[in-house]
């Protein structure tokens, strides 16, 4: 196995060297002597399952956490990094998934926030605008410096962040899952920007769950597992299977579990669903035991369709028929009562109340079942939860743990548990494995198959084409609010075929 320090490179080329970094939190040894090395003009992918220590390592580098032990060397110096500001001065810029932008302020104002260009205490708008334009040009992105940040697309906001890093003369840029919310085309643009950064000799640490991207953009990969450094290798010497093996620590026979379910009668039928121009005349049906994939580019109207079926938004028009009965769904309560459940894409802001415990989140839609005369009978609630904790293998120290402290995969399982207690008939999964690590993904897939086997109808929204092809019985592709194609012979379908329909 390689080690970061094995492949000795000329000292001058080493931009960042972290050695023996330790960091403990109460009850967790998050980083256990991690080494990391980044060269000038290099893209280093940092991968690992959730809880492997990637975020902690980044936070140590960015000054958000102080390491218990270990050294950080940047361009041969050892700056004292205690706060994010120290890190920025040392040339480290971090671009988090949640951008640090003021939504109501313009791109330019955000760019120079805290470093405003002034003359005698007055703002020099024109100079700022000029500099902003130059920065965006250097990055090769078209962003109007005077557009309010909240009006920019996600990619545009990201560009502002990257430009900000450049204008602070950052020498190394850390990107935390930068592609998570981007469309395919925007990801390509991002890669082009990263290419420009490379040519300027800037080192990039690219944290991601998407292995395709590792192979597309990274020069080397560093794999973390359980807070330890497992391997650092040139991407060219790795295969996808080998990389997964390094991350998971065991061999994964197959990324998608096998399944043989007899499809039954139609369960859910949606006809002529419409809301504004986001969802235009969408009709489809799902049978018992069937996994229907709903795919397309981001913004194609997939999530919006699911929200309409679930009653999260109100449809202008359309009928929803469940087991032959026409439903009138005006709010999520109606849908839940009928047996339709939605696992939202964004678990943290929509699926869970982060401050509440595992038990309380699990109970939220189910309280009437556990209560008598309005009083919640906690023993009943606990008994029900015990079953799912075993069934779904939810890893939590105890039921009173705030869900905030659970890993992404376990959070997803808590959301699933609360719906299973409802005797769901139809489950809508919106990007069920987003932000979930490889090992846990397999478990989620297995669960989806189990649910289908129990006779539920599954609608799975996903942008990851291998997942769509590997999991579904049938594929619907959406584009600009309409269903543009259906693929019934999934076994012979290709990613190209889907993309072709998606950009129709």
């Amino acid at each position: 196995m390689h080690d970061a320090t094995d492949s000795r490179t000329p000292a001058a080329d080493v931009l960042l060297r972290m050695r023996g970094v330790h960091k403990s939190f109460p009850g967790v040894h998050a980083l256990d002597g991690v080494d990391l090395e980044l060269l000038r003009g290099e893209v280093l992918a940092l991968v690992g399952e959730n809880g492997a220590g990637k975020s902690t390592l980044i936070k140590v580098l960015s000054g958000a956490h102080r390491p218990d032990a270990g050294t950080i060397e940047i361009a041969g110096r050892r700056p004292l990094i205690r706060t994010p500001l120290d890190a920025l001065r040392a040339g480290v810029a971090v671009i988090y998934q949640e951008f640090n932008l003021v939504p109501a302020m313009s791109a330019r104002e955000n760019l120079f926030l805290g470093r405003e260009r002034t003359w005698a205490g007055l703002l020099r708008h024109r100079r700022e605008r000029r500099e902003a334009r130059r920065l965006f040009r250097r990055l090769g992105i078209a962003v109007d410096p005077d557009a309010a940040c909240r009006d920019l697309p996600v990619a545009g906001q990201q560009a502002v962040e990257i430009a900000k890093a450049l204008s602070c003369s950052a020498r190394l840029v850390v990107m935390d899952e930068p592609s998570a919310t981007l469309t395919t085309r925007e990801v390509e643009q991002l890669f082009a920007v990263i290419g420009r950064l490379k040519r300027r000799g800037i080192g990039v640490i690219y944290v991601t769950h998407r292995l395709e991207e590792v192979f597309a953009i990274a020069d080397r990969v560093t794999v973390l597992r359980d807070g330890r450094h497992v391997a650092t290798q040139p991407t060219a010497e790795l295969s996808r299977e080998r990389l997964i093996e390094l991350m998971v620590g065991r061999r994964l026979e197959n990324e998608f579990p096998k399944r043989s379910v007899q499809r039954g009668e139609p369960r859910l039928r949606v006809e002529g669903l419409r809301r504004g121009d986001r969802v235009r005349d969408v009709s489809f049906q799902v049978r018992r035991g069937e996994v229907l994939a709903l795919t397309g580019l981001v913004g194609a109207g997939r999530t919006e369709t699911a929200r309409l079926v679930f009653g999260a938004d109100v449809a202008d028009r359309g009928t929803i028929v469940l087991d032959g009965r026409t439903l009138s769904i005006r709010c999520p309560r109606d849908a839940i009562r009928a047996g339709i459940c939605l696992l939202t894409e964004d678990r943290k802001s929509q699926g869970l109340v982060l401050g509440l415990s595992v038990r309380e989140n699990f109970g939220l839609p189910n309280l009437p079942q556990f209560a008598s005369f309005g009083f919640v009978r906690r023993p009943r609630e606990r008994m029900a939860l015990v079953r799912f904790v075993d069934d779904l293998q939810i890893k939590t120290p105890h039921f009173e743990q705030p869900v905030r402290n659970l890993s992404g995969g376990n959070q997803q399982k808590v959301v699933l548990a609360k719906w299973l207690q409802q005797n769901a008939k139809v489950i809508l999964f919106d990007e069920p494995t987003r932000g979930i690590d490889v090992g846990a993904k397999y478990e989620i897939y297995r669960l989806i198959n189990d649910l289908a086997a129990r006779g539920m109808a599954i609608v799975m929204i996903s942008s990851e084409l291998p997942e769509v092809l590997g999991m579904s019985d049938r594929i619907l592709v959406m584009h600009e609010g309409r269903i543009t194609g259906e693929i019934t012979d999934v076994a012979r379908a290709t990613q190209e075929q889907i993309m072709d329909l998606a950009v129709a």
Binding site: R333, L352, V353, G355, G374
Partner: protein
């Protein structure tokens, strides 16, 4: 115990404040009443021979008469002879001494209250009344005890904060959902005015029956509940920020109270009207009992019931709650309704305590109520907080106010100190949480 402290860190602050004011208000307490009478009898019994005569001299006040009675009963039960009980002025005492001397019966002791013991009549007894023989003058021992910790004072503390504490229950619920209710102070005035106006105009003014007054009070509370419900509808159906809605309702309710009362206090209520506000049960004021009961109920509601869980969920993440099937609008409506009702109840209590309804009641109360909630550890951003924490917060404010009164801090200075203490208490809590 350590869990209790970490859960209710403000409890520590409350205890420290109580301890501080206890130390600062230690004072000589004149012993009085039945207890000290029995105590003195016990002390006398150590030296008296059976059949010894004792003369008791007190002033004719209730306290001292109780003292004298208890003392006499205890002595007679012990087989001693109580020659006479004098309840009067020094002249009465002198006449009694002369009488005792005339009977020629030996007197062993004269038992005095702390005040009568200092009368000059009792100086030089042996020379002035040789017939008395070797007589001792005894009085109860005075003790040192903090004025703050006297039973009456503690009840007073609870009584003074009762209205604010009751309002703070509703405010805690509102704040946990992520809202705020600025109208509660004005609702006190509205409720007091509506209730007393109903008593005057509908229930027959001074001749109103108990049932009539109860119904009028329900009317006052209902008026406030209606205002609370209206705020709730504005917040849920029209998504107007709670701050703005309740600011508007604060002005509306206050204005209505002035209109209804034409700016005057309404005094035309029967004497029985004060039984809620000034009455007692087993020595504890009704308002305090009501407060304790309401806190117990609210604590159970917030920790054991569906609606309680929903309130926390709505404040923690409104979208996740909605998508989990929580009837968000009903929950929000509920908390403003409860807030209004409790403010209405607070108004009735205030009117009963003051035996009048005036539109000037409850001014600025909303700020004290919010302070109590925040000092009690509830986050203004919603989603977390505890009902019992709020009770502690309210008591902290009450203790500070009471303690400063006892040690003679004048009222302008009191405000400055109260503000500083509220800030310090919350700062402490925030620091503790950040570390934890």
């Amino acid at each position: 115990m350590s869990r209790l402290l970490s859960n209710y860190g403000m409890l520590a602050v409350l205890l420290v404040l109580a301890a501080m004011f206890s130390v600062l208000t230690v004072d000589r307490q004149a012993p009085s009443g039945a207890a000290s009478g029995r105590q003195l009898a016990a002390r006398l019994a150590e030296t008296l021979q059976p059949d010894d005569g004792v003369l008791i001299v007190v002033r004719p006040s209730d306290e001292e008469c109780r003292f004298a009675e208890a003392l006499r009963d205890a002595l007679e039960a012990g087989g001693y002879r109580v020659v006479d009980v004098v309840s009067g002025d020094p002249a009465d005492a002198r006449r009694a001494l002369v009488r005792v001397t005339d009977t020629q019966q030996p007197l062993a002791a004269i038992a005095c209250s702390p005040t009568t013991a200092d009368w000059s009549v009792f100086e030089d007894l042996g020379r002035r009344y040789p017939g008395l023989g070797d007589v001792r003058l005894v009085r109860p021992e005075s003790t040192r005890w903090p004025n703050f910790l006297k039973r009456e004072n503690l009840i007073n503390v609870a009584n003074q904060i009762a209205v604010i504490a009751i309002l703070a229950i509703g405010m805690t619920m509102v704040i946990i959902t992520g809202g705020i209710d600025l109208s509660v102070g004005s609702l006190i005035a509205l409720s007091a005015v509506v209730t007393t106006a109903l008593v005057r105009d509908v229930a027959g003014a001074n001749q109103a029956t108990a049932l009539g007054m109860v119904l009028c009070s329900v009317g006052g509370i209902a008026a406030c509940a209606a205002v609370g419900a209206f705020s709730g509808v504005m917040v849920t159906a029209f998504r107007i920020p709670p701050f703005i809605v309740t600011l508007a309702m604060m002005l509306v309710a206050s204005g209505l109270a002035y209109l209804l009362s034409q700016g005057q206090s309404i005094h035309e209520v029967p004497d029985g009207f004060i039984s809620l506000g000034r009455g007692q049960l087993a020595g504890i004021p009704n308002a305090v009992l009501l407060m304790v009961v309401l806190y117990a109920v609210a604590h159970v509601v917030m920790s054991q019931t569906i609606i309680g869980r929903y309130i926390y969920a709505v404040g923690g993440n409104v979208e996740a709650a909605r998508l989990s099937g929580v009837p968000v609008k009903r929950v929000v409506l509920f908390v403003y309704l409860v807030g209004g009702e409790l403010a209405g109840l607070g108004g009735v209590i205030t009117a009963s305590q003051l035996k009048a309804g005036s539109p000037t009641y409850g001014q600025m109360y909303e700020l004290y109520v919010i302070a109590a909630v925040v000092v009690g550890g509830t986050s203004l951003s919603g989603g977390e907080g505890r009902i019992l924490g709020t009770l502690i917060g309210a008591l902290i404010i009450a203790v500070i106010q009471n303690g400063m009164n006892l040690i003679g801090v004048e009222s302008y200075t009191q405000k400055v100190i109260l503000g500083a203490v509220i800030l310090a208490a919350v700062l402490l809590d925030t620091l503790k949480r950040r570390r934890g």
